[in-house]
């Protein structure tokens, strides 16, 4: 497993170096966006894979981060780095708030609540013209290279695998009652997971905004949710590096298929989700590992 983790981090490193080695603008675009998606996928895994609180609303945190960053630079004229923090902060705040009621909900009820939240965020983004620019979104704000995404992923990995918080997360997912009897403050850790996860999702959103230079309500929609969940299911829930690998590969597939014809790429994502949920529950991370 350690080898695989190292391989993935190496892949991330290669992705980061690729634009330097092959300075074709298209490669840079793909690598950067893939890294951003990897960050988003990893953030989802932190919440859903590690503590078992499956969220269908990460598109919402992503959008909050993106809009927060865009608004900060466009309307408040802050530097992009501060804008990133604003976006992450907004996402984290909403994430923390969501974490409280989430404590009382299980399984598909939690998934539906988060889905509803993402929809509300999308609706607000679509209709709050003065702030969000409505359906057309915001554009023409400052930019930032997308590559810090890779560093952030590594940071998350450290948190999840090395710290005691990470161990607590996994204990909660395996058997929450047992974790409680072992003295783990499950409430605190579940809230922490929500906050961290949404903060990183917000960071991904901010990086996305600064790279793509356009935010609109679509990013809070179903395609984002599908892609994120697809990437994690593909790569392997609960391993963090699995979703990163899944994101890099799936995003590569997604963009690569764009050459075949714009319309086919999401079909592959949907297909991958179904096949992997049924037949390969551990994703790529589980292949070759004994059940």
């Amino acid at each position: 497993m350690k080898t695989r983790a190292r391989l993935t981090l190496a892949a991330v490193g290669v992705a980061a170096l690729l634009p330097v080695l092959l300075p074709h603008p298209f490669v840079l675009t793909i690598a950067t966006q893939a890294a951003i998606w990897a960050l988003l996928a990893a953030s989802w895994d932190l919440l859903s894979g590690y503590t078992g609180q499956i969220s269908f609303g990460h598109a919402g945190f992503f959008a909050l981060g993106a809009y927060g960053a865009a608004v900060a630079t466009k309307h408040a004229d802050l530097s992009p780095w501060l804008g990133l923090l604003v976006g992450a902060g907004v996402a984290a705040a909403v994430g923390l708030l969501t974490g409280f009621p989430a404590l009382r909900l299980r399984g598909h009820y939690l998934a539906l609540v988060t889905l509803g939240l993402a929809e509300i965020i999308r609706l607000v983004a679509q209709n709050w013209l003065e702030v969000t620019g409505g359906p057309f979104g915001i554009h023409d704000f400052r930019s930032l290279p997308g590559l810090p995404a890779g560093a952030l992923v590594a940071a998350m990995y450290q948190v999840c695998e090395r710290t005691s918080a990470g161990q607590a997360f996994r204990a909660i997912r395996e058997d929450e009652v047992l974790a409680q009897t072992l003295g783990i403050d499950t409430t605190r850790y579940k809230l922490l997971a929500f906050t961290l996860s949404s903060a990183f999702a917000g960071l991904a959103g901010g990086l996305y905004a600064y790279y793509v230079q356009l935010v609109n309500p679509v990013i809070a929609g179903a395609a984002t949710t599908s892609l994120v969940i697809g990437m994690v299911v593909f790569g392997g829930l609960g391993t963090l590096w699995g979703p990163v690998l899944g994101a890099l590969l799936l995003y590569g597939l997604y963009e690569g298929l764009r050459f075949v014809g714009v319309v086919y790429n999401l079909v592959a994502v949907g297909f991958v989700i179904m096949v992997f949920v049924i037949f390969f529950p551990r994703g790529l991370a589980g292949l070759g590992r004994s059940a």
Partner: protein, 294 residues
């Protein structure tokens, strides 16, 4: 004041017919299979496309379009249980893992929606109304097409509830929803009932899609906003309780319609989601609850 109240009330009732067709099927599927069908809206879209194909491409009368949509979505729905849900069930071995089925149907939704995009393109297709004309009620005017939706919804749902209440197969469906183990001991074939129920549920959505095609136009993502709203409706009524879904459909549609008097219309949909979140926090079992908690 009273006039506009009445006007919005009527519009709300008419809208409720569509919501009911959609939400009752969704709730029934959850009640019997314990699966939340995220792809429900895609069957609505398929219904619209089938109506388009029948009426615009094959020049058949409007009724044929609706019938074709019903049959087509029913047949498509029959494939879902054996091809997707049963294999996952086999692997999970009966352990409850609700979110995994959600992910599965999310995958199906993405697959269907983008397949439609690939096969038919993203253009908004126009379908002529099955009936034309407007009913003038003085206080407000309602198009005959919208009344048709309400009428068909009323007819189909009445038939469905009668089926569930009186017909032996309908009793079997209810039995499976209540107690699958006991149902098997009665000789009821679970996979068959699962397939049948799912197909019935999505066929209702398909009919809705065919009837609303003239009003919404037909495009791949036409059903998705309805799906999310239907989640809210079924949670309000009680997931798994078709009667609850029926009642909640009208509660939500009338609330949305009346809300236009106080908030700008683009924010209408917020009501449904706000209601859903409140219900999930305060009373997850919904207004009427589920017949039995499993």
């Amino acid at each position: 004041m009273l006039e506009s109240l009445l006007e919005f009330l009527i519009q709300g009732v008419v809208l409720g017919g569509l919501y009911a067709l959609f939400a009752v099927g969704l709730s029934l599927i959850f009640g019997v299979l314990d699966v939340i069908n995220v792809a429900h809206g895609e069957f609505f879209a398929v219904g619209g496309y089938l109506a388009f194909a029948a009426v615009v491409l094959l020049h058949l009368p409007g009724a044929a379009g609706v019938l074709g949509a019903a049959v087509g979505t029913f047949l498509l729905g029959l494939c879902v249980y054996p091809l997707l849900i049963a294999p996952l069930k086999r692997r999970l071995g009966g352990r409850p893992q609700g979110p995994l089925y959600l992910v599965l149907t999310l995958g199906l939704s993405t697959f269907l929606q983008s397949s439609l995009l690939a096969l038919a393109g993203g253009d908004y297709l126009r379908v002529p109304p099955q009936v034309s004309g407007i009913l003038d009620l003085g206080v407000t005017a309602v198009s005959h097409q919208r009344l048709l939706v309400l009428a068909v919804a009323a007819a189909l749902l009445t038939a469905l509830f009668a089926f569930l209440r009186f017909h032996p197969e309908g009793l079997a469906v209810r039995a499976v929803a209540l107690n699958p183990d006991a149902a098997q001991a009665m000789g009821i074939n679970l996979p068959r009932i699962f397939s049948l129920t799912l197909a019935l549920g999505v066929a209702l959505a398909g009919v809705g899609g065919a009837l609303m095609a003239p009003l919404f136009n037909v495009y791949p993502a036409v059903g998705f906003p309805l799906t999310i709203k239907a989640f809210a409706i079924t949670i309000l009524g009680g997931m798994g309780n078709p009667v609850g879904a029926l009642v909640a459909s009208f509660l939500i549609s009338i609330a949305e319609s009346l809300s236009v008097m106080v908030i700008p219309s683009q924010w209408q949909s917020l009501i449904a989601f706000a209601v859903m979140i409140v219900m999930l926090l305060v009373r997850p079992r919904g207004l009427l609850g589920r017949a039995v908690s499993r």
